[in-house]
């Protein structure tokens, strides 16, 4: 009886719900309903079945050894606990998720660094009314007109005007 109860950890569904992104909300709802159904089923079953009143049966049943035999066999009976096959898979999934998470977090941090860099550049720019054209081309190199490739005005393909 001691080993069978794998600890049912209390889950904070509210905090869980906060972290679910909106596009996975349906999956979260499905999981929650399934969990709730399971816990309802569990709560409906008694932990131990009621004890059989052997004394009454011994007095009531006329046949001699029937009740004694039943009692002996009943107390000797060991109901096997169901074998847990899936927890290992879940643990493996968790490990994999940890790995992909680390990768994602790293990529996300790289993106954040990139954004920060651009933000820094934009914030430290001199104000537009103090810029000369040269300064402008330095700040936004994409706007520089390529006078070698397009020597005639407007120095860029007509489609880009």
């Amino acid at each position: 009886m001691a080993g069978r109860r794998a600890a049912v950890r209390a889950i904070d569904w509210a905090a869980f719900a906060e972290r679910v992104p909106p596009n996975q909300r349906a999956m979260y709802n499905a999981l929650k309903t399934r969990s709730d159904a399971l816990s309802a089923r569990l709560a409906a079953l008694p932990e131990k079945p009621p004890a059989i009143d052997w004394a009454y049966y011994k007095a009531a049943v006329a046949k001699a050894g029937l009740v004694d035999e039943f009692q002996k066999k009943f107390s000797a009976l060991k109901v096997p606990e169901p074998v847990d096959t899936q927890t290992a898979k879940i643990d493996a999934q968790e490990q994999e998720a940890a790995k992909t998470t680390a990768e994602y977090v790293q990529a996300s941090k790289a993106r954040i660094a990139q954004y920060e860099q651009q933000l820094q550049k934009l914030r430290s720019m001199i104000p537009f009314d103090q810029m000369t054209l040269e300064d402008f081309y330095e700040a936004f190199p994409e706007t520089r007109l390529d006078k070698e490739k397009y020597p005639y005005w407007p120095h860029k393909p007509i489609a880009d005007l």
Partner: protein
């Protein structure tokens, strides 16, 4: 997220012609006489140098002030003009008249509408700068929201332990439920069998009782002879007569 943003920013900026840099070079501004340049360059002055009579820079008056006081340059100018006219170094002819008319019209026009035109040009410039500024601000804001979103996603991802805990809980609950169901089944089966035995016994006893009662009744009925029947019927009639007499009396 930022990649589609960046081309749009300079595209908007590219469409603006560069702003006009106003003003005569102030002497305080460094001329590029040497190779070194203090970058970033100091901003261009807002207004040009001071002039008097629209032509003569203020520095000339300041230059002459110590020697000749306030009226010095004016005296110099008047004297120079009279000298040129009297000595006929400058000859008055029809071109002088034309020049006078043209200049007076020009000066009148500039004095009357100059400020308006300047304001209009400034407004055009302002609009360009404002548009560029708006684009820049929007880009900054978008970058900031992007950073926030990334941070939020990172926070979300941290909650993955909830998911796996929930799954493990489900499994544990399933196992527990299954085990309890099995125990219950065992109990129910054993109880059913015992109850069956008891019920069987009860049924047998009841059947025996019923049969016995029936048999006893049958025998009793059989044992009633015709003689006894006649006697019992006449007794009943007598009893009834007696009863009816007493009943009449009561009424």
């Amino acid at each position: 997220l930022s990649a589609p943003l960046l081309p749009s920013a300079p595209a908007a900026l590219r469409s603006l012609p560069p702003p006009v840099t106003v003003g005569v070079l102030h002497t305080a501004r460094l001329l590029h006489t040497t190779q070194q340049c203090s970058a970033p360059l100091p901003p261009l002055p807002e207004k040009g140098g001071e002039v008097r009579l629209g032509l003569i820079p203020e520095e000339f008056f300041q230059f002459l002030y110590p020697k000749t006081g306030v009226t010095g340059p004016y005296m110099l100018g008047t004297g120079l003009l009279l000298y040129l006219l009297s000595k006929e170094i400058y000859v008055i002819n029809h071109e002088t008249v034309a020049a006078a008319c043209i200049l007076s019209v020009i000066i009148y026009g500039v004095k009357k509408y100059g400020s308006d035109v300047a304001a209009f040009a400034d407004k055009l410039n302002e609009e360009k700068v404002a548009k560029a500024l708006e684009v820049k601000n929007e880009t900054i804001k978008d970058l900031e929201t992007a950073i926030e979103q990334e941070k939020k996603e990172q926070w979300r991802v941290e909650g993955r332990s909830y998911l796996f805990d929930a799954k493990r809980n489900n499994i544990a609950m399933l196992l527990e439920t299954n085990y309890r169901e099995r125990l219950l089944t065992v109990y129910n089966e054993v109880k059913k069998r015992l109850d069956y035995q008891v019920a069987m016994q009860n049924l047998k006893r009841q059947k025996e009782q019923d049969h016995m009662i029936q048999w006893v009744e049958k025998n009793v009925v059989q044992s009633i002879t015709p003689q006894q029947q006649k006697e019992s019927i006449s007794k009943c009639i007598l009893d009834l007569k007696a009863l009816s007499k007493s009943a009449q009396a009561a009424v």
